[in-house]
């Protein structure tokens, strides 16, 4: 790996520190039984990996990880956690041997695969020398958009992005079809406890929605 990309010893130390935090958090998640702590730690995991993505210059990926992984999925998991018990059941001592072997084998295979990866920021790597280079060359004439990520996502590959938008919409639709809109809780809350959940400063009409 070249020092020009990695930025020398300091950046390497930060890399090691962030990856060590990720490792510790992952171990903690695997060993904890309290679902609330697990949800919060998975948010921490996403935030630390977002910081690490920023460090390796994947700014858009890091931003998405911070917004979706640390923000959105933590909140959704929190909502899902409230529907079930607060702690996972204790497990029998040797029930996790099989999954452990599978995980270790997959990890060894992934480590073996990294040998073939080009170094970080290698200009001769397939990603940087093929169609990626062409985009960088023709983007300014074609679209006049300074951010190549945006012009690739929104202009060159806008069919893909239309599909992604439709996927997000379909995901929302699927959840609604399975769980309902959640409006019943609004009506229920208003009917059952019109006073007790009133917050200071909120004006509410009693009997609304019943």
């Amino acid at each position: 790996m070249t020092d020009a990309v990695l930025g020398g010893t300091g950046t390497a130390l930060i890399n090691i520190l962030l990856l060590a935090i990720l490792f510790v958090v992952a171990i903690a998640i695997a060993r904890l039984r309290s679902l609330f702590a697990i949800v919060m730690l998975s948010g921490v995991y996403s935030l630390v990996s977002a910081a690490w993505y920023i460090l390796v210059d994947a700014v858009d990926v890091g931003f998405t990880e911070a917004a979706v992984g640390a923000g959105m999925s933590t909140a959704v998991l929190l909502g899902a956690m409230l529907l079930t018990a607060r702690t996972a059941k204790p497990e029998k001592p040797f029930s996790r041997i099989g999954p452990f072997i599978v995980c270790a084998a997959a990890g060894i295979m992934l480590l073996y695969a990294t040998i073939d990866l080009p170094p970080l920021g290698d200009p001769a790597s397939p990603a940087n020398s093929g169609v990626g280079l062409t985009y960088l060359q023709v983007n300014w004439y074609d679209t006049g958009v300074p951010n190549v990520v945006t012009s690739v996502l929104a202009s060159y590959r806008s069919f893909d992005t239309l599909g992604e938008t439709a996927v997000v919409f379909t995901a929302g639709l699927a959840v609604v079809l399975l769980l309902g809109f959640g409006e019943r809780s609004l009506a229920d809350t208003l009917r059952r406890a019109p006073k007790s959940e009133t917050l200071p400063g909120t004006v509410r009409k009693d009997g609304d929605g019943t």
Binding site: D60, L173, L178, G182, L199
Partner: protein
């Protein structure tokens, strides 16, 4: 009074939520020049609403931003995106060919800018609407987060 032991949380959330929304629009409208774009902006916008729901209660949030609005917003977003493609076809181009929006030749950028801005608005609507709808559907099944859960 009930709820007073979360006063610090409520005050800080009240200060933070407008900032989060402004940041979402900043990300949205700087997608052409900086990191992030409409997907991230939509998520940040939805997270602002979810933070509001977690701190001030789901009922108050549903009254401010009703569920019918979020699910309509999501569908409208996809229609806005797809509509840009139809617009390009009506002007004689291919589907989603931004050059054709204003009938420009190669090297003309107005159609590209307009097309990208409009589809990003569509993505913002679709993502924030869908994610808020998902949260409402999940959180609407339990009344509130109880104090002992924190």
């Amino acid at each position: 009074m009930k709820g007073d032991h979360h006063m610090i949380l409520r005050v800080i959330a009240k200060c933070l939520i407008p900032l989060i929304v402004i940041y979402a629009f900043y990300v949205q409208f700087h997608g052409e020049v900086g990191a992030g774009g409409a997907f991230q902006a939509g998520v940040v916008l939805a997270v602002a609403l979810i933070l509001n729901a977690l701190v001030f209660g789901l009922t108050a949030t549903m009254r401010a931003v009703p569920p019918w609005f979020t699910r309509s917003l999501s569908a409208v977003g996809v229609m806005v995106y797809a509509g840009v493609g139809v617009w390009a076809m009506l002007k004689g181009g291919h589907y989603l060919e931004y050059q054709a929006l204003f009938g420009e030749g190669p090297g003309g950028h107005d159609g590209q800018h307009a097309g990208i801005i409009i589809i990003e608005v569509g993505v913002l609507f679709a993502v924030s609407g869908a994610l808020t709808t998902i949260f409402y559907a999940l959180a609407g099944r339990v009344a509130e987060i109880r104090d002992e859960d924190w």
